[in-house]
Symmetry: C3
Subunit: 629 residues, 3 copies
């Protein structure tokens, strides 16, 4: 497969007479794909039923004429103002009870049937007109961005009640499942159940978890309605552009509906805005982004797309939305592009073609400046285009390490963290980072994975409820498997199973007590390093591999199966991972702090994420440097 480049373009922002020149410059630059249309509803339908699709057809034609392919986005993330007059109650409502008003984007509640019908209608009209014309589709834009999954609106409340009635059939069953007897929280009627906001103290965790499941289902339902509509008129692949560290809905569920997963990669914005890290770390990587954050999402969305994935929006310069928005180190735009290809991206599209001189994202760089001069990312994209022609394709292959990622566990940890800082994404990401610092390539796998064939090392930290297929796969694998902390510790209702968890076949381990720790009081491990934040007391007859200085179990194991009782700090994590990787027949090597490796079928990529040159294996890699062999 030939890897390609692309960009995001807004013909409706620019005079029609400039489109052809833009298209020509895109083609000259070596781009293949152009995404358009996803915010253009007010130009496509300026008033209800008044369809104005001709300009879009002309824009597509201009792009096609230049040899470019088109991804057409459904414009449902930005319903026009007149939509609100038709559906005054379509807005989402925040947890404080305030409607989230018109004036930016994503101003709709996933549970509003009227708006969903409108979204299907515009999608149908677009698919009818352009279904055989465009080369790919995108549904909506960045589900979940701006905290838009949870809505506390009346339609959401009604839909939640229906969802619960469908799921539990009787309030007796619901009361039992949730443990409502605890504080006399029993319900006699589904119509008495409210959304779990504004309760006096924390709501029942089972109540909160079901609301999160429901909210995720509403996203999947909304997306599926668009996908099914497009399918009736188009054979082109369909995608959605996910964001970084959005865990409020199950991306595997929407991912199954579509051919391709894409995501929007803003390394500098994410480092500033969405990552727990020390100030030193944030300063060191301020112009390069975190060394593992993009790779994690590349691997995650490769799983969501079942192998097919893109970067739909690649940061090409400073952005506008993080607490601070520095410029990337020269070379990083190329670096990020190659990193995506190394992880298997089919296409990397830069956001956006030309920087906008108006509205919310004026200081968000494009490949062009607002005056159409080339911005700094332009030449870097050109270099990648040239390099792509000269190198053989990146052959993708299964990685030796599998890491489970489970959205429902993210919800469970969030609902019931038991301690400040105890966050599922953070835990899994730290394990991922630990694997990468040992030079290992990783596949992220969904929680309903049915076989672990081909993996030498498997981890499922924090996965609260292991699925039957995965439990079976674990029992059958000969890979080294590390479970814990908190793996399989919960029922699907977030209650504690009795007999006590984790209930892993072949492993005599019981979690007899949980404690959470102040950041300043880690528990030292006998061999160095420490357990931090989360620690379980185990009852176990298995061999103790790691223990605290006081002799409490940290890691116990039997055969190829191991249970980790706490959240390891980097030192302890490295020792544990290195031992298990060696036992798995892998060759872990401790990399210099800025170096990361990605192995594909035919190529080893080595990336220097640091601001200084690094000598590695005899080669000096400059800042923003990537080498492949």
């Amino acid at each position: 497969m030939q890897r390609t480049l692309g960009t995001c373009y807004y013909p409706e922002h620019w005079p029609e007479e400039t489109w052809a020149e833009d298209a020509a410059r895109m083609a000259d630059l070596g781009l293949t794909w152009v995404r358009i249309g996803e915010f253009a509803w007010s130009r496509l339908e300026p008033s209800p039923g008044n369809l104005q699709f001709d300009w879009l057809e002309r824009a597509i034609d201009v792009l096609h004429d230049a040899g470019l392919k088109v991804v057409l986005g459904t414009p449902t993330a930005t319903p026009p103002r007149w939509m609100l007059n038709k559906h005054p109650d379509m807005l989402a409502v925040d947890a404080q009870g305030n409607p989230r008003k018109f004036g930016s984007r994503r101003h709709y509640c996933f549970s509003h049937d009227g708006y969903r019908a409108e979204a299907v209608r515009i999608t149908r009209l677009l698919a009818e007109r352009f279904g055989r014309k465009v080369e790919a589709w995108q549904t909506d834009n960045e589900y979940g961005c701006h905290d838009t999954i949870y809505s506390y609106s009346d339609p959401a409340r009604a839909a939640f009640r229906d969802w619960l009635a469908q799921k539990y059939q009787s309030t007796e069953a619901l009361n039992r499942a949730w443990g409502n007897i605890f504080w006399s929280m029993d319900y006699d009627s589904f119509d008495d159940i409210d959304l779990p906001n504004l309760t006096v103290t924390e709501p029942n965790p089972a109540h909160a978890l079901d609301f999160r499941r429901f909210s995720s289902d509403q996203v999947a339902r909304f997306n599926e309605a668009q996908v099914a509509t497009i399918r009736q008129h188009s054979d082109a692949p369909i995608s959605h552009n996910y964001m970084g560290r959005i865990v409020e809905f199950d991306h595997f569920a929407t991912g199954r509906q579509m051919e391709i997963a894409t995501w929007d990669s803003y390394p500098l914005g994410f480092l500033e805005d969405r990552l727990e890290a020390s100030p030193e770390h944030k300063r060191r990587y301020a112009r390069q982004g975190d060394p593992d954050f993009q790779a994690f999402h590349h691997d995650l969305y490769r799983a969501v797309g079942r192998g097919r994935w893109w970067v739909m929006e690649q940061q090409p310069g400073p952005v506008n939305w993080a607490p601070h928005n520095p410029a990337p180190l020269p070379g990083m735009v190329r670096f990020w592009t190659w990193e995506a290809f190394a992880h298997g991206a089919e296409c990397v599209a830069y956001f956006r073609w030309r920087q906008a001189p108006f509205a919310q994202e004026q200081y968000h760089a494009g490949l062009l400046r607002p005056d159409s001069a080339e911005a700094e990312g332009f030449a870097e994209a050109a270099r990648v285009a040239a390099e792509l022609k000269q190198m053989p394709d990146v052959e993708h292959t299964q990685a030796p390490v599998a890491l489970v990622f489970d959205y429902a566990s993210a919800w469970g940890w969030s609902v019931q963290p038991q301690g400040a800082g105890c966050d599922y994404f953070r835990l899994v990401f730290e394990v991922y980072r630990g694997l990468r610092k040992l030079g290992l390539s990783v596949d992220i796998i969904p929680p309903d994975t049915e076989t672990l064939a081909g993996y030498a090392l498997v981890l499922a930290p924090g996965a609260l409820t292991l699925s039957e297929p995965l439990l079976k796969a674990i029992s059958e694998t000969s890979a080294q498997v590390i479970l814990g902390p908190r793996t399989n510790a919960k029922t699907e209702h977030l209650s504690t199973p009795v007999p006590l968890p984790p209930a892993i076949e072949g492993l005599d381990v019981t979690i007899s007590r949980v404690e959470t720790l102040r950041p300043d009081m880690p528990i030292p491990a006998e061999g160095g390093g420490a357990v931090k934040l989360w620690f379980e007391q185990l009852d176990s007859t298995e061999q103790m591999i790691e223990e605290t200085e006081d002799g409490a179990a940290i890691l116990v194991g039997a055969r190829n199966l191991f249970y980790l009782a706490g959240w390891p700090d980097p030192t302890l994590l490295q020792r544990i991972l290195a031992q298990r990787a060696e036992a798995a027949g892998l060759a872990p090597q401790v990399l210099p702090q800025d170096i990361r490796i990605r192995d594909t079928g035919n190529t080893r990529f080595v990336f220097n994420h640091g601001p200084e040159p690094v000598t590695f294996n005899g080669q000096t890699i400059p800042p923003a440097g990537v080498i492949w062999t």
Copy 2:
């Protein structure tokens, strides 16, 4: 009196066939008391008027059959969901105007007459059925927990207007009392007066203070209605279980209504969540709790109960609700129990018998694990039970030191702190800690105390308005008395008396100016230490005992009467307290940092609160160690 142990049990959470075994194990463990029922309304009355009391009777019988005594709680902290259908406006409303919804507990407004009638009704029904059967009562559960004293609901507004009309009789009187002329805030009608939330800038402090007085009165009225109802059918003692550092209502007012005061002692949760302390302090005591916080509340609730008090809920392992929830140091469950007995507790009951595997408190340890195996606290409780049999009873006696605690002063400081960090509880607690670090045992006394007979040293820091009886008692005592800072500085309407305060008979002191200080700019005292946070400029002809390096008065005195012009840091506080204690004929000794002493009529207890052994008076006390002589 024989000190006893108990536990909190929820028969409604467990299969009836397991009750008898539970009861037998409780009895075997050496427990005497079992509290039940306080969250069970939805099982006692599953629908309006549908009373299901038989199971409760059977549960009581099972406990009685095992030789256990029962405390029956009224279930009014957890009205069932159907109650909301009867009284849709019964919810409290938060300061932002949002109803505090059903789905956890304490979801009622103290001013809602309809709900109060329901609370009385269920109380009456329980008292009629079980009044002669149970050995003690508890009203409701943890008034004030989850910030539930203040409600900004319509019923609260109406009740506040009535309360003001009763108190002032005319708006002219109210306008004068509040000083409403200040910003044209005068009222013509009580119906024009709103609750003091959401004002443009701070409301009139007198308005805010009256709202707090009113809110406290509403709690007392609510509690009294239950108490009076129980009294009609039962001679058993009545109690309420207070929480730690809840100062939003006057516990002395509710305390006077009942025979016994109890409180819920969670040393580790309180340290993390409810105490101003350095990170170092929080880390050092993370597994033991603050050395003075529990003792303070023991002494406080002994006063609230006029000598009769219990720990109704004793932390037996990690809890679930603080920012971090570590496990106690081994031995601390016994340690905390003995500390309570040393301060005079009649009973210490562990919360809870068995850890719940569902709903909000799943990670809150019990004496048993969810699978009924013994948790760590079990053996420690057993040890206390054995020790109790072998030692003579702890004879209680009056302490040599009296420290005034006044809830209305807490409200006054909160309404008008004049500086960040200026908090009444914090001030009184720091003085209490200072006394304890000198080895002194303390009685906390209410603000309307009429005699100080028997005390050698008396303190009333921050008590804004001294009552006539207390002023008289001060003028008559020969004890060493330290007043200030801010003692008697305010009228009951939180205005400044003219002539200027503090107006203490026999002491020529005038507060001519108040200033508050940044934490990083304490004012050094001539003899070492410093004044922090709060400092008053005094006009005084009295002898200057302590002064700043610039010669401003810090402590002045006449005869046995002293006035302290500022908030002393620990060094200055220790010097002042030690001097006064010596003058009072006491023998203060500076204890090692982790050691605390409690003297009773026949026993001296010495506690090591630290994580390491401490040698004290020739004896080495281990961590979590207590010795008595």
Copy 3:
């Protein structure tokens, strides 16, 4: 002109029989002016139409009889409670949608026509009665205090729509101006446009900016209505008392309506509450106030008043409203008074005559204590009064340096900061401080200034859109001119001009990229110091005066015109300013950190703002010391 002293007095707070003695003491102290009446509406009109002006006439007579002059305030900042019964929707609404209730002050929405009519009515009645009797007027009180400029009420929404319709005439024009196509934010009707609060993510910056312009206009309209009313009945000068660092409305717009600008100077409160500064800085100046904050406002309000300005409220001791409220260093009350005179104040009035013993400001010092004894500020005021008699008047003159201050730029930066900490006031104030640390006296000038004649050095940092007159004045001046960062970078709709800014005639500079920086990653300048927070990449052929260590332009220039590409730290700023000042023929000198100089026509004042004596030019100046020569 003879500089005068004054005070703020509330006869309605005190028994009438004490007024004469108060007046006599004021006169004895050497005061000239007394401001009264501004919060007295409830006494002037206790019920609708029930006018009670006689007491006010008697109060004025008493003051006049003592030889004092009177400033009469309109009482419109404190409408009585009955006003709400007439106009229930007159309250402002906060950004969360909650009405900002009665119970303190400033509880009105500027867009409520009914309340504006009431304000005009009471103003008219007062002007009719006292227009020929009092010597000066004040409108309302501290517009904008307590965040009261922005209101999200229904009347505000309706007025905003009207304002937009007037401004744009068609929604097509508005859509184009705002760039609403960006996210399909187009409007078909002005009635569809909402206020820009509670949007899902940030609203269109042009939308937000227009709301700020509108809100500022509403203040001007409200004030003008009072001014026009007073004018019909009085020839006395009219003023308003502004606050410190309130930038939410354009003070130049209201300033043009009146003869005199006044402001309320609370140096210690402002330091604690309204200034970005290190803890060390806040501690060092905790008892003196920031060395430049008062001077900045003196110079700003001198511009607002077109030369005529007062301090209407001067802090005379500790205040009550900052996070911490220490007492001033002895001598500071005199010091602050002389500082104001040195900057040209006609009068300095102390707030307040007597400390109030009730309501919200009880711990706010007055010249007298609540018991009428002299407070510490009293003697200092007396000293100033004596000094004023003995020294010649302070002749005011134009300063050599002009610094543009533009309220609309403050709104633009606030709407679109691009990075945390990027604030317009902060930037301009840091430049002002830099000038002052070089011993320079500064005139602050409005953004529509038409000539720069007489200035040797001109700066306009951060002024987003330079007006045509100012651009012309810059092109004509021979003064050294420093523009940037971000100067003239925006259109009036906060969009980016194409061709790219800054578009300064005679200077070939283009801002090709903007980045914002973490506080911990300043970009070092080649000559020392650094750029922080905000940095622009320039395309320029002009001479590079300052550059980064990497060779990027920081300061470029042509002839006398310079552009500064980033936010300089103090070291870099000092170097740039010193060079330009020298080129301008000024004699900059680096002052000791606590010393500031103010030159007037006939006098040089030297102020020591530090807590220790400083020797400067051979003279030792004590703490709180000022010398003049």
